[in-house]
Structure formats: C-alpha cells, structure tokens
C-alpha cells in the first residue's frame, strides 16, 4: 500500500441471478490506489461476478461502484478505466502477438507510431519481445498469459483486473508467475485486483 487514495469504492453491492441465486450479497469495501488486492475464497462464492461487475460485463442488482471518482452505472466496458486479464486469456487467435497487444490502441485511434512504441514497451515488460511475430497457437499457456497481461497493461488502466490468472498453469509455473505479478505490479504502480483461490 503506497497511497491511501481510494481508487475503487464498492458500495453495498448485491448481485442476484433470477429470484433465487445470490452471487454477491451486500459487498462493501474500498480499494486504495497502488494496492495489490486479492479476492480470496472457494470457487462459486461470487469473486468472479464481482470482478465482472467492475469490468462492466454484469450490472449490480443493488448498490454502486465508483472507480476513480466516477460512478460506473451505465458505463459500458469499453469506456471504463479498467482492463481485464481473462481466465481463458482470450488472446485473439487470428492475430499475432504484436497485433493482439496493439488491439486496444488501434480500436481507440491511437496513432500508429505511438502504438508501435507502446506495444514494444509492453512486450518488454512481460519479456515477450522475441515472440512479437508469433501466432497464439504457437505459444504455451504461460506465454499466452503474458500476451494477455501486456495487452491489458498497454492501455495504462487505472486498475488491472485478473480473473484467476494462475489456475490454468501448472504448479511450478504458478509460483513463478505469482512472483512475477507482484514484481510487475510494483514496477508499473497500477492497482491490481486479482481473483484467486490460493
């Protein structure tokens, strides 16, 4: 915890699917800027739902989410100052590593030369610069995850959301990646919200 400024404020959030399923029940907490915030708990306890509400893929049934001083109600996922690393990584299979990482900049009209420079930086950050021209099918699971990380970080989000980023990796790689994530978080200074069960 480097700073005490609140970046995310979750105010009495509840999420119900239908009449009977309560995914999140009255969650209420703040996340400070620069924090490495872990949502822990057994699977099926609503962590991922909470993360998806932060990203804007689900709307809370009750309560409100404030990110960086802005109420998020009615704000689409593409307009939020957060980016997400998906559990399945969701690396675009028909684009090279380089084009994957640059995607978020291209669709928002960032100039080509700036895109190129920032993609290069992001790939260096996750040590994937040698694989820039590869297709996702030629990468290992761990490498794909790095691409997903670089693709999110290149957007310079206020908050990076990670949905069980370690679950698809084997035990040995998981430990290394855990340390890697902490190192990365310290070097970029972005708030990380990570869902995990270990």
């Amino acid at each position: 915890m480097k700073s005490s400024n609140t970046i995310i404020s979750i105010r009495n959030i509840s999420k119900r699917f239908g009449a009977s399923v309560v995914a999140v029940d009255n969650a209420h907490f703040d996340i400070a800027e620069g924090e490495f915030f872990a949502l822990l708990g057994p699977s099926g306890c609503g962590k991922t739902t909470l993360l998806r509400m932060l990203a804007g893929f689900e709307n809370p049934t009750e309560g409100e989410i404030v990110i960086d001083g802005q109420v998020m109600e009615g704000v689409d996922p593409d307009k939020r100052p957060v980016n997400m690393v998906f559990q399945s990584y969701a690396v675009f299979p028909h684009m090279s590593v380089e084009r994957n990482v640059g995607y978020g900049l291209r669709v928002t009209g960032v100039p080509a030369d700036e895109t190129k420079r920032r993609v290069q930086e992001a790939l260096e950050l996750v040590k994937m610069e040698r694989f820039a021209g590869r297709m996702p099918s030629q990468l290992s699971g761990g490498q794909r995850q790095r691409v997903a990380l670089a693709r999110a970080l290149v957007k310079r989000p206020k908050v990076l959301l990670l949905d069980e980023p370690l679950s698809a990796l084997d035990a040995k790689l998981r430990e290394a990646m855990q340390l890697e994530l902490v190192r990365l978080q310290q070097s970029v200074g972005i708030t990380f919200v990570i869902v995990t069960h270990d």
């Binding site: 996922p77 593409d78 399945s88 675009f92 299979p93 028909h94 669709v107």
Partner: protein, 288 residues
C-alpha cells in the same frame, strides 16, 4: 523380483512378432471387404465415368466407342441456347449465393447467440427447407408466385434458390460458432472496442471459414438444382440443368454428355474447395 524382470524382457518381443487376429472391420486384411468396397465404387461412379468418357466419343449415339473427339465440346460451346442457359445459371447462382450467405450467416449467429421464446420451434422451422421434399417446395413456390402475380423468370428462380439455400448456410455457420470463446468478445470490449468494432475485428474473422464453406455450398446447390427451378422458371428463363434435361428428351447426344461433364467439373471444384476450407478451419481451431 530379478527373475521376473529377466522373463519380462523377451515376452513382449514375441508378442509383437506374432500377427494378431484381424478385427472384424480391418479393411486392409480382408479380401471380401475390399471386394465390397470396389463394387460400391463401381456402382456409384461407373455412370459418371461413362458419361464423361462418351462425351469424347466420336459417334452420334452413346453405344459403342468410335474414337476420341472434342467436337461435341465444340458444339456445346457454340450452342447459343445452352450457352445462354449456362450464363443464366451462373447469374442466378451468384445472386442466390450472396443473399443466402448474408441471411444464413446472420441467422446462424442469431441462433447461436440469443435465447428467445419458441426458439426450439423456430430452429425446427428453419431446417424445414432442408428436409422438405423438393417437389413440395417447388409446388409451393410456384403456386405462391402465381397467387402473387409475380411473372416466372430470373427473379422467381433466384428467390426460390435463396429460400432453400440459406438454411444450409445457417447450419454451417451455427456449427462453426459452437467452438467460439465468448470471452474474446468481452476482451475486445474491455480493450476499448465498441460493439461494431468487436463484431468486425473478432467475431467475423472467426465466422469466416463457416461463411465461405456455406457460400460454396449455396453456390453448388443453386447451380445444379432442377426440380424447384423447373417449377419456378418461365418461358425464356431456362437454366443449365433444365436445358440439359430438355435436350435429353429429344435425344441423348454426346453434346449433352459434354455439357454435363462441364457441370460436374464445376460442381466438383467448388465442393473440393468447400471441404478444403472446412478441414483447414477445423485444424486451426484445434491448434488454437
């Protein structure tokens, strides 16, 4: 223990040396099975092969082999009625392919994506043109156009072809989408793309192999359709298959063989491309 190991060594080697009994469907080692396969191939392909062979036969009748000639191809190419019918067929096939591909692809995507009331019944109805006897659909189309006072011709043929082609496209696209990872679309939105950018950059590229395969299918279906076309074509709007049949009714000349061979080659080419595209996309989705 040591003795066990000593014995265990040579035993597998002996097993390998002895030939195992052939399993009931082991094709390579059963003569009679090979014979059955050969008979099947003859049954299926002899008529086609003889049709093609006799198109090169230097005789007016398809009975005895008289010598090699290309003159019936020459005749076919210079038969203005046949040529006109061929071009009309291509025109109808292209029109039908473009429209049924667009409609079918959107339909396939919609069935994959959305849940709505009576979806099951709706899906069943979509497949109706695939399972309905062609003659019924032909009759229905004809009486409909008659009731609506639409003159039979290019337009009515094209509409009928679209009607029976687009469900095939929808089925192919729908099955392609079943392997789609929806978090790809979410990732695209998350990275700042709006819904249209997401569709064109992420969803559509994934659909493309299915769309191409569906389009080629629609093209061949339209190109060689006879029954529905015969019912919905008017005077002066004969298509290639209908024209060939009317020529056969007069007499089976090698010119008909030549024209049919051209149609076979064309359909075969498109089908092979469709299969190639599908198998390639299948491999790719396994790899990724």
């Amino acid at each position: 223990m040591a003795a066990d190991i000593a014995i265990a060594g040579p035993v597998p080697a002996r097993r390998v040396a002895r030939k195992p009994r052939p399993t009931p469907l082991e094709y390579g080692r059963k003569r009679w099975l090979q014979g059955v396969v050969a008979l099947n191939f003859i049954f299926l392909y002899f008529p086609i092969v003889s049709l093609i062979a006799f198109s090169f036969n230097d005789s007016k009748r398809n009975v005895t082999w008289q010598g090699f000639t290309l003159k019936y191809y020459d005749q076919a190419f210079h038969n203005s009625g046949l040529q006109e019918a061929f071009l009309r067929s291509i025109g109808i096939a292209l029109t039908s392919t473009v429209l049924s591909t667009v409609i079918g692809a959107l339909l396939g995507l919609a069935i994959y994506r959305y849940r709505f009331p009576l979806k099951g019944a709706f899906e069943g109805l979509i497949y109706l043109p695939i399972v309905i006897p062609e003659i019924c659909m032909a009759m229905a189309m004809r009486s409909y156009f008659g009731a609506m006072n639409i003159p039979l011709g290019f337009l009515t043929i094209a509409i009928s072809h679209i009607a029976f082609s687009f469900p095939f496209v929808a089925v192919v696209v729908r099955s392609r989408m079943s392997g789609f990872d929806e978090s790809l679309e979410e990732a695209s939105r998350d990275l700042g793309a709006n819904p249209w950018q997401t569709f064109f950059n992420v969803t559509l590229p994934y659909m493309t192999p299915g769309i191409i395969a569906g389009a080629l299918l629609a093209f061949t279906l339209s190109l060689d359709d006879y029954v529905i076309t015969a019912f919905t074509s008017g005077p002066g709007s004969t298509t290639f298959p209908v024209k060939i049949y009317s020529m056969v009714r007069q007499s089976v000349t090698p010119e008909v063989n030549a024209a049919s061979t051209i149609l076979i080659v064309l359909t075969l080419t498109v089908t092979v491309i469709a299969m190639w595209v599908q198998s390639r996309s299948g491999n790719k989705s396994i790899a990724s």
